[in-house]
Symmetry: C2
Subunit: 581 residues, 2 copies
Amino acid sequence: MSYRESLTKYIANFVNQLYVSGVRNVVISPGSRSTPLSLTFAEYDRFQLWVDIDERSAAFFALGMAKETREPVVLVCTSGTAAANYYPAIIEAHYSRIPLIVLTADRPHELRDVGAPQTINQLKIFGDYPKWFHEMALPSATVEMLRYARNQAKRAIQTALRPNCGVVHLNFPLREPLVPDFTLQDIWGEEEKSLTLRAVSQLSQPNVELLIDKLKNKKRGILVCGPQDRTELGSAIVDLAEAWGIPIFADPLSLLRNGKHSNKWIVEGYDAILKSKAVRDLLELDFIIRFGAMPVSKAYLQLLQEKQGIEHIVVEEGEGYREPVGVPTHFLNHCDGVHLCRDLASYPIKIDEKWSANWRKWNTYTKEVLMEKQDRLTEGLAVIGIQQTIPDHTVLFASNSMPIRDVDTFWFSNQQLVKVLANRGANGIDGIISTALGISATDKHTTLLIGDVSFLHSLNGLLLAKNYRLNLTIVLINNNGGGIFSFLPQAKDKSKHYELLFGTPQDIDIQKLAAAYDASYEKPENWTNYVRTLENSYQRGGLTIVEVETDRTENVSWHQQKWDLIKQYLLHELEGSDDVL
Amino acid sequence: MSYRESLTKYIANFVNQLYVSGVRNVVISPGSRSTPLSLTFAEYDRFQLWVDIDERSAAFFALGMAKETREPVVLVCTSGTAAANYYPAIIEAHYSRIPLIVLTADRPHELRDVGAPQTINQLKIFGDYPKWFHEMALPSATVEMLRYARNQAKRAIQTALRPNCGVVHLNFPLREPLVPDFTLQDIWGEEEKSLTLRAVSQLSQPNVELLIDKLKNKKRGILVCGPQDRTELGSAIVDLAEAWGIPIFADPLSLLRNGKHSNKWIVEGYDAILKSKAVRDLLELDFIIRFGAMPVSKAYLQLLQEKQGIEHIVVEEGEGYREPVGVPTHFLNHCDGVHLCRDLASYPIKIDEKWSANWRKWNTYTKEVLMEKQDRLTEGLAVIGIQQTIPDHTVLFASNSMPIRDVDTFWFSNQQLVKVLANRGANGIDGIISTALGISATDKHTTLLIGDVSFLHSLNGLLLAKNYRLNLTIVLINNNGGGIFSFLPQAKDKSKHYELLFGTPQDIDIQKLAAAYDASYEKPENWTNYVRTLENSYQRGGLTIVEVETDRTENVSWHQQKWDLIKQYLLHELEGSDDVL
């Protein structure tokens, strides 16, 4: 058998098995060494192929698709530094537990370490971040080796999907010739359906009686739901809250802030409520049961830090120890949260009714303060405008660092069928546009809330929007620089090095960039125009950039003013109360 | 002593020692965790600081500066995926042996692996690519620990500069508070000058007599100079060629194609001459002595592959085994090429005069064919136009993949004081604009020859050009896609998947992008306007984008036509010759 025939069949069997095992989307970056892979994916004709010249964007795009579909997405790139450009997205995928299959083409062994062009050491190039790295054998089409190729494809998918979901990296040494021969017969091999539809965690059995025993006589509890991606878990938490009469702190990425479920016990204003240390000091908290990852809220993190005496239970569907402040914690790893909620609901835990009622009252007040509208646009109103106009069955993607915090503060619980997503594995400002486009590519019009630094950082993503005419409404909060730093102690140094190191104004005319990528561009000057602009973008589809110009200093004082109002109200409530909570 | 005082002194001593040890340029990307480092670099006030929001661009920018100055450049970024964005440039720096000092800020140990925000595992995040990775101790200002901080700074510089030059990565765990207190007295510590000005390789002593013995009776030899960065090595090779009467194949990155030295023995047309297998078959080659890395030319690589019987000597100033075709090779590692050339020149090696004269004749003919001008612009004429107009004491930076090959073919040896540079460690198309800007930032007007895919890939680099008003003339060969692939076997598949996977036209209006980054933009339609446009850009300074629109198919046939002419001529020469060479 010629090498070309071996190459053709080996790669074709591998590709075929990926499809049979459930892969549907393949993101390819152009290159020569990867020709056997990319041509075979194209020839197979049943994948949705996406081609992006920038591997960094490509990987975040794949991440976005996998985030929304919860199915593994395949990445293909050529040899050399191409793969290194995947690294930021791979790290994000690791921490946010997103399944990705990375296929890198490589020179064969005899061309490594000898100065051959575009050849680098690709073995374990992503360090410990992939769940599985495997250097594939050289192409061969014996019965055994075709079985091997299929086995690796199957195993890659299963490994990526097994909790915690994550990244698999296969490196392909490929000799020339690189162009497969698709005129050959029977190259695809026999399809083998996997017995495992979706790998599940080996579930552990939590000791519910002991857990309940620990909560006995603890009357001031909170359920917390951080970032997580199971809709059914959200419902189960709501049912538990109803059974116990206990408030839920619902992170914007918990899937709990939107949807048809009851929002009676949902407290979404906890970040604003907990901002003040004086307020936190007056709160007496007995226990927290948390589902999902750590919430976005820094005030919540501070609360936890200050309440070291509480019972703190963290429910992990996979494996993890995500508790950054060192409070003694019971981690329930590999625990099915839905089952646990049902079990717990059957136990009669008595939550202090005043405690629960207060949280509902405070939350209502807080929302009123935050929701106050004015004609002049602010970063908060930008979020409220999206909530008011965003269509059902679409996605809001919030960038880091300020936008996700603004969403935390201003995205109130509602009945809309909208999903809120973000990259909260490593909280980077890189690859944001591409991630949002990856979500959009799953046929969901996506709204991206993003700051100007992050926008410029991930600008190359717009090539995908243009080339595939994806539906993305970008709300670009342009305060000409890094807005988040204005809230940090570094801002006190403003006089001297602040603008150079933290402000970093780029003074880019967004309208001109929009023109280069064929985007519709609008810059509404007030609330009314803003809402209309958003509505138009949803009706029109395609790529729209809505620029909202704000001022970093003004933004801080606007936020501060609201937080002060809320703080005064709460101190009055708590200090005036007979039973100090 | 307060933690803040410890932090301030620890970082200040480290930063001070970097300066004393010779660092002058620091490239910072904004972030919060890195505040102690970035503020201290700014406060020290003697560094040239460069701030770039995109770490990928920042790292290539630092690479460009270090490439031109041959001094280590410092990179500073915050925790999280920021560092991962450095990875492509770090790999390029490793393979092209460029000194970089990477300083990453990190959360302290108690905030790692516990779901703290923007926290990833940064230990050995760049795998084996850095020459040295060190996790710094937590800040402390005891006498011992200040000495430790200074020692690490000194050692970082020495390690990066010791052959092979490369990357050092120091990871800084940093607790809050993050803002140093510069009102404190005596924070910078005592300067300690290093005894080592620049680390040198432990030189090995080559056995020159044995080498000469191996070349005895070998009359058809070639000196080859691949990419290398020592001007004095170039002169020594020229002197050796003169002494022996032996041709030099001079790669465009050898520093030999430009300068005041004699170009009598320089053959720069060898790539075009060696393109045809029929021609190569007729050549009888006895030996090659190569300096520097493997040349860009693929034809040269093929020649080597086909002449397994020759004596093949590779002189490595550092350590390396850069010989990708498997021809038996004597590697002279850690060998001072200048000394070796002088030694060799004193031995009477007799090169066949006809052989040497023929190469000079063929080279002259080849250059005539290649140099032929026409009014319609081609990719070759784009190079010739640059050579005709580029000022002395400036740099031409050639992108991958097509531009460096076009420079190889069309950049003829000349007396200009121009340096030609490229990223030939891993030959990526990533970070090209930023690398060129890094060179420009050393006060050299830089001309960048780049294709459209590479231009769009590294577009973010233009933020640096704009923010620092750097002098860069970009000659953008726009053939709307990946031109290199048209020369490869994949092009035969053009009918079906070619444009999707390899052509990858992006259809971006470059003029609009230019406007967004405040660049002057020109699109000359013919030779005369092209030359004038280049001249204007050099006079004006700043950022100019000169778009040269070409057609990928036309380009291939234009190149092919010239190569055919040269092949016919050479076959006639070689076959008609009495003594077949």
